[in-house]
Amino acid sequence: MTVLSVKNLCKKYEGFALKNVSFDLREGEITGFIGRNGAGKTTTLKSLLNFVHPDGGEIRFFGREFAPHELEIKQKLGFVSGGIDYYPMKKLKTITDVTRRFYHEWDDAAYRRYMELFGLDERKTPKQLSEGMKVKYSLALALSHHAKLLLFDEPTSGLDPVSRDELLDIFMDLVQNEDITLLFSTHITTDLEKCADNIIYIKNGEILAEEGLDAFLAEYKVARFSGGVPHDPRLVGVKRERTGHTALVRADDIAALDAEITDADLEEIMVHMEKE
């Protein structure tokens, strides 16, 4: 089942535009949304929820158009931009008390369970929480109203490696055990290699790739040249390294290339593609 379907989303700013952004999210999968800073990740996510008004395109959550069904769709959504950065001086207890009233399916028992699981103290304020704990509190709120789709805008940025890994474990548990669908934007590509099923890659406001992570990784190889780099149109984003040069090459095109060929990881694919 398609949980979120985006078709030809367009938004024009001075100096930047989202151009016909289209993608689908399938139920019970984790999708990573990658792209460098300013590529359009946050604008896309904000457009989904009408935080910014798209100039064109169609957005459907759970098969329904967003604008006429905004309230019912938001009942099933959790959106987190980093950790919580609102009302930093209010106690979590107060924020929760306000938030819970908006959700028909608010589950106090689930809330208590997640607060305990994440080690969160309601008497604290967001300002007193670490970045990781802020994300966990957002997560606790979203899970307590039984959100079916979680949209995260760079949830792991600013977290230490241990906290990031812990959070990714939670994400995987949620998808496996609770059938939640998860989209998260990040530029920390190693996070996606650990947990993502699919990848959406955006560059300069355009979707360059939308497919399964393994299939995406299998499409590319890295060619390493110890000496000079031949002028070859098959080589993408040639860049200098300590011991020579590297370039990205499509897996189908590696034949007859006089180079050391290795598998490409997400970061290598992104770095080389962004050099084009």
Partner: protein, 215 residues
């Protein structure tokens, strides 16, 4: 809507706005430009919007199952509540003042029913100017407040000046206590009606602006 109003009271309400309600007691000062009391009401509204910006109130509220129209409506209801409470707090002090002090106000208009009518008009103008501008971009609170203050002040100066320029205002509307009450009551009724109309117009414009605003 009741959930949004609960949010306004529990999260958005600034303590200063409540504190300023106590300034209705300034009516006990023997002579003072009493319209200033209602300027503090405007300042309270400004504090709420300013702290809302610092606390990312709109961002938080937009994440909730709430429509933009409802978000604006809840803020207006909070402001209407604060403004009416300022009047409610002022009336007992006005009565007490007239009981313990019979002299005229040397520094401005006397406290009577017409005074409250003019105060309604000033707050209505402030609401119209401030909120119409504020909801075009809620990240900018200072300029809308400045414009709102100008609207309030011009109206206040105009009312105070009219006491000297128009004998009717001085003799009938500035009468201490309940003299010429029908005239004063008419000004109170017209002032309150204008406040309601101006605030309703501000709400309609604000909804339109806020719907078009990109966060």
């Amino acid at each position: 809507m009741k959930d949004l109003i609960y949010k306004e009271l529990m999260l958005a309400m600034h303590p200063a706005a409540i504190l300023f309600l106590c300034l209705s007691s300034m009516l006990m000062i023997p002579s003072y430009p009493y319209f200033i009391i209602f300027f503090y009401t405007c300042l309270g509204v400004f504090f709420i919007c300013m702290s809302g910006r610092e606390n990312k109130d709109i961002y938080y509220t937009m994440l909730l199952p709430a429509e933009k129209r409802g978000i604006v409506a809840a803020r207006f209801l909070l402001v209407v509540l604060i403004e009416l409470l300022q009047f409610a707090a002022a009336v007992p002090f006005a009565l007490l003042r007239s009981a313990v002090y019979s002299g005229p106000n040397e520094a401005g208009m006397n406290v009577n029913a017409a005074f409250f009518g003019f105060a309604f008009l000033m707050l209505g103008l402030f609401n119209l100017v401030f909120f119409t501008k504020y909801y075009k971009n809620p990240n900018k609170v200072g300029v809308p407040f400045l414009l709102g203050c100008i609207a309030f002040s011009v109206c206040m100066l105009f009312v105070e000046a009219s006491r000297f320029a128009v004998p009717f205002v001085e003799h009938y509307l500035n009468a201490p206590g309940a003299q010429n009450l029908p005239y004063q009551a008419a000004v109170l009724a017209i002032g309150a009606a204008l406040w309601a109309l101006l605030t309703a117009a501000a709400y309609r414009r604000s909804v339109k602006s806020f719907e078009a605003f990109d966060l």
